[in-house]
């Protein structure tokens, strides 16, 4: 495995093991994610890439029977420490889901949801943040005239970009993306991929994808997971061009998966 040099790791994972009840899904992963870069997690279905992603904002806590061992350090702080405030953690580590899930509220209310629940009440601050977030998610021009219409009236691609806008409105350090384009048509996918390229200016992005072309297009680094193990992790151009591991090569050349 090629160790890549990480200058400013935002998230460092040390020997992470994850259990669903008695069965272990992740068998001791060590990985670190550099600041303001896009890192793709690839691997065949069921390899644990989504589970790993959800460990970074403790979304796995919702599963009753799950258990985590090992450490995940966000800016040097272990997020699985008993004193960690999950709410604060999730404000720093935003998430975009596979299926777009806007709230049944207006576009405006969707974007400021994260601010509202944090107790923010300033209307002008909301207005400003809605505009910057929607611009950041490349949605502003399409919806600026109907901000108070229901978000459920948007197209699938627009909804997903709205979810991205909603995630960046609270200004997180990291954005986790769990197959964000899997439910989108090619044109919308292109828009979102373009957007990911823009977002890396300001955010650290970790994206799970089963689409290797997409990983190659959008990411700086790529990690290949297989059966709960990190097989290979490196710069995207190196991993796709000269994979060090046989399994990686088999996977990216389409021999399995």
């Amino acid at each position: 495995m090629t160790p890549i040099k990480i200058e400013n790791p935002v998230i460092e994972v040390e020997d992470l093991r994850f259990y669903y009840g008695d069965s272990r899904a992740i068998h001791g992963v060590d990985i670190a994610f550099p600041e303001k870069q896009v890192t793709a997690l690839i691997g065949p279905s069921g390899c644990g890439k989504s589970t790993l992603l959800r460990c970074f904002n403790r979304m796995n806590d919702l599963i009753d029977i799950s258990r985590v061992e090992g450490k995940v350090l966000l800016d040097g702080q272990d997020i699985y420490d008993k004193n960690t405030d999950i709410i604060e953690l999730r404000r720093q580590v935003g998430m975009v889901f596979q299926k777009s899930n806007p709230f049944p509220k207006s576009i405006y209310e969707n974007v400021i949801y994260g601010l509202r629940i944090a107790g923010e009440k300033d209307k002008s601050f909301f207005d400003e943040r809605v505009e910057t977030s929607l611009k950041g998610a490349a949605l502003w021009d399409e919806v600026k005239d109907r901000l108070h219409d229901s978000a459920l009236g948007l197209s699938g691609g627009q909804m997903q970009r709205l979810c991205i806008a909603r995630a960046i409105a609270v200004n997180p350090k990291v954005i986790l993306m769990d197959e964000p384009c899997s439910a989108l048509d090619p044109k919308s996918t292109a828009r979102v991929e373009e957007l990911i390229g823009e977002l890396r200016e300001n955010f650290t992005i970790i994206i799970v994808t089963h689409n290797m072309q997409q990983a190659a297009r959008v990411s700086d680094n790529t990690a290949f997971l297989f059966e709960g193990n990190l097989i290979e992790y490196g710069l995207t151009e190196q991993l796709f061009v000269k994979p060090q591991n046989k399994q990686t090569e088999d996977y990216i050349t389409g021999r399995f998966g």
Binding site: I87, N101, F103, P104, I117, C163, A167
Partner: protein
Amino acid sequence: MKPVYLKKVKRNDRLASWAISIGGLAIIFCVIFILVLIVEVSLPLFMSPTARQIARVESGFVSSNVQVLAVGMDDYLETAYTIDAGGTIRFINLADGRELEQIRLRPAEADKRLLAVENFGRLNHVLHWDDGSLSVEQVKFSPFYDAADNNRRSIRHTLESRGEFPAVPQQVEQSLARVNDEGRQTRVDLFADGRLEVQQREVTENFLGEEEVTESSEILELNGAGQLSALVLNDSGTQLYAGTATGELLHWSLEESGEANLVDHLQAFADQRRITALSMVFGDVSLAVGDERGQVSTWFGVRGDSSGKRTLTRIHQLTGHAAPVDKLSHSLRDKTVLSRSGDGLHLDYMTSERFLLGFNPPGGISRYALTARGDGLVALGENGDLLSWRLFIPHPEISLKTLFGKVWYEGYDQPEYVWQSSAASDDYEPKLSLTPLIFGSLKGTFYAMLFAVPLAIFGAIYTSQFARPKLRGMIKPAIEIMAAVPTVIIGFLAALWLAPLIESSLGSVFLSLVLLPAALMLCILLWQAARKLEPLKQVERGYEFLAVIPIIIGAVALASTLGPGLEQWLFAGDLKQWLFSELGTRYDPRNCIIIAFAMGFAVIPIIFTIAEDSLSNVPNSLKAASLALGASRWQTVWRVILPSASPGIFAGTMIGFGRAVGETMIVLMATGNTAIMDLSIFNGMRPLSANIAVEIPEAPVDGSLYRVLFLSAVILFILTFIVNTVAEIVRQRLRAKYGRF
């Protein structure tokens, strides 16, 4: 797919869609059919009365030089009779106009003539002879089977003398006489010089069994009233009313022999109109007053102030005539008032102020009489024709106003909404106002919902969002089993166990309403502070709710210990007495607190189940989105889950509401079934549903009460229909707003 098989699939598809359509349509049809059935029973309430002329006997049956002074008819509408000035009663077969019999009233004194005849009671006639004497005769009809005539049904006519009053020397303007069942005879004479004299004769038996006769005679005090223009005496001869030519009304009580008492004297009409006719209304409580302007009003004594003295007050205004009213009389069956004027005879119902029928035959009406059962009218025209009608007056006491409005009933001090379908005597006014019943339905529902809705919805939120899945799997079926408890058992427990319990420890109940939430809050705060401490950290999360049980038990125990002391200290030992004396609220043992608990128990499972389902069905992706943005569990529930589940929660609440409105058994058993209009939680009510259950077994089929009960069923039907329709519309709109997932 094989073509044969494809054909079979398509055929089955068609069959299934037919079967489903037929089933659905059948349900709709059944519901509509039920509605049609109950509407059909209740609709005749609003039918107009009709009269059918059944006989007309041409003039000439009586010689034209003898004036007919009174007419009458038997209950079978077969035989009519006339009393003429010559003192002869003739019985006439109405079917063919044949004269059946003639009876000479005073056969020994052939030269005596009658001046006037006054009718009262059941075929009683006061005969006013030209020598100033009066006699009271009752005509009796008794059917028998004539053995001489092939056992044909025939009717025997007899006269029974009920009293004689000797002649008075002076010229008499008008005389009234009554003989009551105890043998008391009362005679009132208005003399030409304006004096009004009362003579009373009472025969009583003393303790030795000897008859004692008390006689008295006195001139009544007129209190400076104007010229008397109308007089009426009630059937028992104890109350005398007079009207004057200048619109005054006078009322004397003749209860005490020889001590007549002017009870009331008032200027009834400010414009001093002449009072032209007076009559009692059946039951002898109300007085009908006709005047020269053709108006008919009814009056009775009302306690106006705290002194307790009753003053005659105008209560109902009936449909007027175009000409002065010259005669008033009443039905012997209900509160129908007959008034005759130049423009004909009117039948009006007092309570409902409904105009029932009008008669104005070409020959005019000079004499008339209503049968005792109120279903036949016989009249003598000015031209001497004898006419009779069969009357069909189905429900005279029912009008929209008596059903829903405030009505001033006899004996009440102001108009009120009253439901009182039966009474001890036959001459009562039926009081069939549905307003207190609708009020009762809504009141019971309101208190039940006040108790049930928060519990059910918070319970559903806890179960669906906070409880562990294992726990949820136990709670939900347990609550659903609550819905299967027969309501008669809930009602039984509420009435016989809960009601006495709450009554005996009212102070503790209220105290626990404060202590219970307070104790829970305190314990939650303590837990919040203590949960981070080292030993408590090890306690498995998710079972904290178990700690609630001892807290509830402790709080209730504390409340029941402190309750009596608190009552002693704050409310002088008796909260119920304090409520009555300080707040004016009576405490009924079966009240809305009981109803809130018992009906709440029946409604909670419905609201809970539907609300829980809709909360659980909110997609997890929404929950995850909210949590991933840093929302707490409660923020997620409040801002995302609840709005998304709101259509379902609303629908559940409305279905619970519909259930509570229609609930019968619990309210029947656990409320006092008192049809009062009082919002207080400390007394009961009578809802529409329980009222139907209570009264339908005693309502005569097709009677007014029976039909009104069906009408209340229609109202109940419409009420639930409206609630369900509104619920569905709101649900659809909420779903359009929050739905999609």
